[in-house]
């Protein structure tokens, strides 16, 4: 891509979506180092294909590449069966929202429930996890999700419904324990 205007466009249209790309890769791979590798590889591919991209939605375009890159990686390196439930991101969750009650007890309860949500999403099967992440964390439309995954919008809808039901089922026993 020797054309400086393409480089310029890549910098202004694609690089700013790094956090989205990484977030998606992170939730698909469930591992920080693998997510970095997948993101980096996806950016190299995106850079190569960018001159042919004339659409209006660079973020969705990039996320489709991230997803494809992930599946290539996934087929080559199936996750080890003994995949531990430990995930460092759970342990570095920020107890953020300053608007809420900030007593130590309230923070502890909130933190625990955040960890449970994190764990539940992490354990969701891949085909549901990816639509949940694209919808609930990246806030993409059904149309965008359909184009990224390459499925009809009706399938996006039914997967989201089933994904939410599964999460609700995963979260219910945790709530009783807490």
């Amino acid at each position: 891509m020797a054309d400086p205007t393409n480089e310029q466009r890549f910098k202004t249209q694609v690089l700013p979506h790094l956090n989205s790309a990484f977030n998606v890769a992170r939730w698909l791979t469930r591992n920080d180092q693998d997510a970095q590798d997948v993101t980096q590889e996806a950016y190299l591919r995106a850079y190569k294909f960018f001159p042919g991209f004339h659409g209006e939605n660079p973020r969705a375009w990039l996320l489709a590449i991230v997803r494809n890159t992930f599946y290539t990686w996934y087929r080559q390196n199936r996750e080890p069966a003994s995949d531990t439930l430990f995930d460092e991101a759970i342990h570095s969750l920020e107890t953020s929202n300053v608007r809420q009650d900030d007593s130590p007890e309230a923070m502890l309860i909130r933190r625990e429930s955040q960890q449970q949500v994190h764990l539940a999403l992490r354990n969701l099967p891949l085909e549901f996890r990816e639509v949940m992440v694209l919808r609930e964390l990246e806030e993409l439309s059904y149309k965008e999700i359909a184009s990224i995954i390459g499925i009809p919008m009706g399938t996006v809808m039914s997967r989201l419904g089933r994904g939410r039901q599964q999460l609700a089922a995963l979260l219910a026993p945790m709530k009783q324990e807490a």
Binding site: Q36, L44, S113, L121
Partner: protein, 261 residues
Amino acid sequence: MDHQQVLELLPAYLDQELSLSETRELERHLEGCEACRRADALQRDVSTQLRQAGLRIDAPPALLQSIEAALPRPIEPQISLGERFRLWLASRSSNWAALGAMAMSLAVLSISVNLYRQIPSPEQRLTQELVDDHVRSLQSTHLFDVISTDKHTVKPWFNGKLDFAPPVIDLAQQGYPLVGGRLDFLNGRAVAVMVYRYKLHPINLYVWPGNNAGQTASVVEQKGYHLAHWSAAGMTYWAITDAGAPELNGFITDLRAQAPS
């Protein structure tokens, strides 16, 4: 719309992906169907929990550098349109043909100036962009990339993410605690955003290099938000909040008292 159809459409109802007429029809069914209401509440609850759990994981700072380094060629620094125009002028020697062309284009310019007046000025557009960005930052989970009330955490966080070092000032003593920072893309460039709070009102303070905003800050109102901008020490600042004009003025006065000028 029968019961089964409603159950299938519930996710799209919750995600506001249905047309107005479908929504109305579905709501009519919900009124009379306890089971569907429960299913809807269950999905809504999961969705809310996911959105409130801070699950979005940002890229580690080093990843951007490593990606930029790995691209086949380093990406060139951004050239603004104004600079490009100057370069273009400089590249054309001042021969008469060029001057003639200039005169022509000036004539065209003065004809189209009335047209031009009707399209928003860059500043109006920027103001609009800021209001949009501010609203977006409050709607989504993207108010912060780094959450900290400590300027010694927020400032280093920007290292390597920007081509400038934004001044990060703590105003907790003055009643405007710093609550975090984030990176945003505005006006065609990456900018630093410091998030402060006045009581329950978030204040987004956008900073990027530049000197063209003038020394004095005056508050303007747009869509119920108050905005102000000014330049100091080679940086352009924009502050925006839903708090009132006096509070914003107070914030700016306190900020500028602490900031390098």
